[in-house]
Amino acid sequence: MSDRSGASRVILSGLAVGAILGAPAVAAGSAALAAGSSAVRDCSSAGDEVQSAVASIREQFEASFTPGAVAEAVSPPTPVICETS
């Protein structure tokens, strides 16, 4: 069933995306404290990555379908010719 009622379509903040990408939230927060504004730039970059991945997926879906029936998957046996000379 295409149950989409529970699926969040909200674009996540950079920090939350960092957590989703695998970096524990505490570590992401520590990194932000230590590196100042550079950490913010990193998270924005991760957010871009998510959006890029999502966009790439949408693109693949758009081009994924080729209409037309597929022939029966029957392969004729291929003879192996042995040279006797």
Partner: protein, 629 residues
């Protein structure tokens, strides 16, 4: 009341003076033997009685024709089979000599069953001519004077025919003692039948494994049969009921059912061929009760009235019985009468059957939470047909039913059952308290994506059965109920139908309009039609590492191939074995995609009908191409 069972064991001479015949009347199906008869015969014989069975249902099937008989067997909710024997059973007290049932459209008769159509005139002819002639032949053609006890096994539509024969026997062979039992006599139903039907001497309410031989012993020794636990009888002007024992637990000690008379009888009538390998499904019992129902009783289930506790034969005992019965009856096809498969058999019985190299063809009822590996094991072990009780494609409705499975698991059983060549029989049910129109709109929307899987046998309103939580729980959401309409055309006015009915009509406190189900009804009909096409619908995938093609042949004229590469292919393949969430998929593919991107992929696949979404989980719908593995 509970009274001590008779203690004195009968002597051999006393037992010899009480020969027994156990009878199965219409409308027990004719294409396989009755396990109730086979088991009770073996039990009585084991206790030293001369006991035999009489599948008298076969003679009636032979008389009116196999297809007509089968069609009537399918009508069990509407009492048409009982109605056919009502006049013979109750004489002038029968409530419907004029055949008003056949004109009562609200009785909901559907005489155009899967096995053919039975016309109104044909039904009247059967009732007025075939039934009396059949009973005459039955009374004249069996040596009733040689038996003392006639037992009747009654489930579903067997009551009126059994009462009709018992009435004749009591009139013409007064020495005969009649004993009734079976699911129709469970609880207060049995007491009311004994109270109202003069042809019943004793009834066994509940399981007969112990009560039936104890009743025979009481008869043989002259003890009080009414003192046997589980036995109901008339005493003076009242009905006496001795409380039944706990459900029988020593199933390994049960004898194998004796079906000798069934096969001889069916072959003599030409119902089964005399020569060659038999294809009859031999009924066997490996377990009783329901381990799921004992914990979470499904709200609509009225099976196992007083015997819900789960009990199972040991795997070795089951394997031995299959081997014994196969040799004895020359068939390799079996039908388990269990309500639910014992999960212990997955690790013991089926590996044993595989190791032994058996080639059985087995039917089982199961819970729908089986994995791909378990379905493969079952198939290798000989299971070709399952009834998993799917009931719905909505997790929310399944929760209302207390089924203990999700819709994604149901779809997965359909998928892997099909892949491994196991027929899955199932239905879609509706009419549950708390359901919403949205629950059915979503099911109607998803059904076109599932047409490559086996369609449901039927889709319709759930029946209200005695013993089900919908019946017993005052807070179940059922506002009012009454015995199913057909009962009033079968039983005389003196019968309290509230006490004898097993099926009930009902109204919910907050019902949905019938239109709410129209989408599911229409989509299901189209699904079944699709399976009747010369080329059935398919949805098959072909894969190589990082590369996936899905051939969609579900809709004629709209066939095509989906091609996915890289991570998108991996996401799909991660959802092939079972429903799985985005976080788990992410782990499976080496964390190379964020969860949001995987959710996006789930939605993209679902929009194209290539995945089934069940809450946060997703399940690939296509089945793998190539060799079965």
């Amino acid at each position: 009341m509970t009274r001590p069972a008779p203690q004195a064991a009968p002597t051999a001479a006393q037992r010899a003076a009480w020969p027994v015949v156990i009878v199965s009347m219409p409308f027990m199906v004719a294409d396989r033997p009755s396990i109730q008869l086979g088991l009770l015969q073996a039990i009585a014989t084991g206790h030293g009685y001369a006991a035999r069975t009489l599948h008298a249902n076969l003679d009636f099937a032979h008389r009116i024709g196999g297809e007509t008989y089968r069609s009537l067997c399918e009508q069990r909710g509407h009492m048409i089979g009982d109605w056919l024997f009502s006049v013979a059973a109750f004489g002038d007290a029968a409530p419907d000599p004029d055949g008003a049932l056949l004109d009562d459209v609200s009785a909901g008769l559907d005489l155009a069953g899967e096995s053919g159509t039975v016309s109104r005139d044909q039904l009247l002819r059967i009732r007025d001519f075939d039934v009396p002639a059949y009973l005459d032949e039955l009374v004249d053609g069996f040596p009733w004077q040689e038996v003392r006890v006639v037992g009747f096994s009654c489930t579903f539509q067997q009551n009126a025919a059994s009462f009709a024969l018992a009435r004749r026997l009591k009139g013409e062979f007064p020495h005969v003692v009649t004993v009734f039992g079976g699911a129709n006599f469970d609880g207060e139903m049995g007491q009311e039948y004994v109270r109202r039907a003069g042809c019943i001497d004793y009834a066994v309410t509940g399981e007969g494994d112990v009560a039936f031989p104890e009743l025979l012993a009481a008869l043989a020794t002259g003890a009080d049969p009414g003192a046997v636990p589980g036995v109901v009888c008339r005493s003076g002007g009242t009905v006496s009921a001795c409380a039944a024992r706990a459900p029988y637990g020593r199933l390994d000690e049960s004898p194998s059912p004796n079906y000798d008379e069934y096969f001889a009888h069916a072959e003599a009538l030409g119902i089964h061929p005399r020569a060659g390998r038999r294809t009859v499904r031999i009924p066997f019992e490996s377990a009783r009760g329901c381990w799921w129902g004992a914990k979470h009783h499904c709200t609509f289930c009225g099976l196992n009235g007083s015997s819900m506790a789960f009990r199972a034969k040991s795997p070795g005992r089951v394997a031995d019985e299959l081997a014994t019965q196969s040799r004895r009856y020359h068939s390799f096809r079996f039908e388990a009468v269990d309500n639910i498969l014992d999960t212990a058999y997955l690790s013991k019985l089926f590996p044993e059957l595989i190791a032994a190299g058996t080639t059985y063809d087995i039917f089982y009822e199961v819970k729908a939470n089986l994995s791909r590996d378990q379905l493969r094991l079952l198939r290798q072990g000989g299971v070709t047909h399952l009834q998993p009780g799917l009931e719905s494609l909505s997790t929310r409705v399944l929760e209302l039913m207390r089924k203990g499975v999700r819709a994604g698991q149901n779809v997965n059983v359909l998928r892997w059952g099909q892949y491994y060549g196991i027929v899955i029989s199932w239905n879609i049910l509706w009419g549950f308290p708390g359901e919403s129109a949205e629950d059915y709109r979503r099911q109607a929307d998803v059904i076109p994506h599932l047409v490559h899987l086996r369609p449901p046998v039927g889709a319709g309103r759930v029946w209200l059965e005695r013993f089900s939580p919908l019946f017993t729980d005052p807070d179940s959401g059922v506002k009012e109920r009454g015995p199913e309409r057909g009962y009033r055309y079968v039983y005389p006015e003196s019968f309290d139908l509230d006490k004898v009915a097993y099926f009930f009509e009902y109204a919910l406190a907050d019902p949905l309009p019938d239109e709410a189900y129209a989408g599911v009804r229409t989509a299901t009909a189209a699904w079944r039609e699709a399976w009747e096409r010369p080329t059935p619908p398919t949805l098959t995938y072909f894969s190589a590492p990082g590369y996936l093609q899905i051939y969609d042949g579900r809709r004629p004229g709209a066939e095509g191939t989906y091609t996915f590469e890289g991570e998108l292919a991996e996401v799909y393949l991660a959802c092939v074995d079972r429903p799985i969430g985005a976080t788990a998929v992410r782990e499976r593919i080496g964390r190379r995609l964020p969860v949001d991107a995987i959710e996006e992929a789930f939605d993209g696949f679902a929009e194209r009908g290539l995945m089934f979404r069940d809450g946060s989980s997703a399940l690939a719908l296509a089945l793998p191409a190539g060799a079965i593995r």
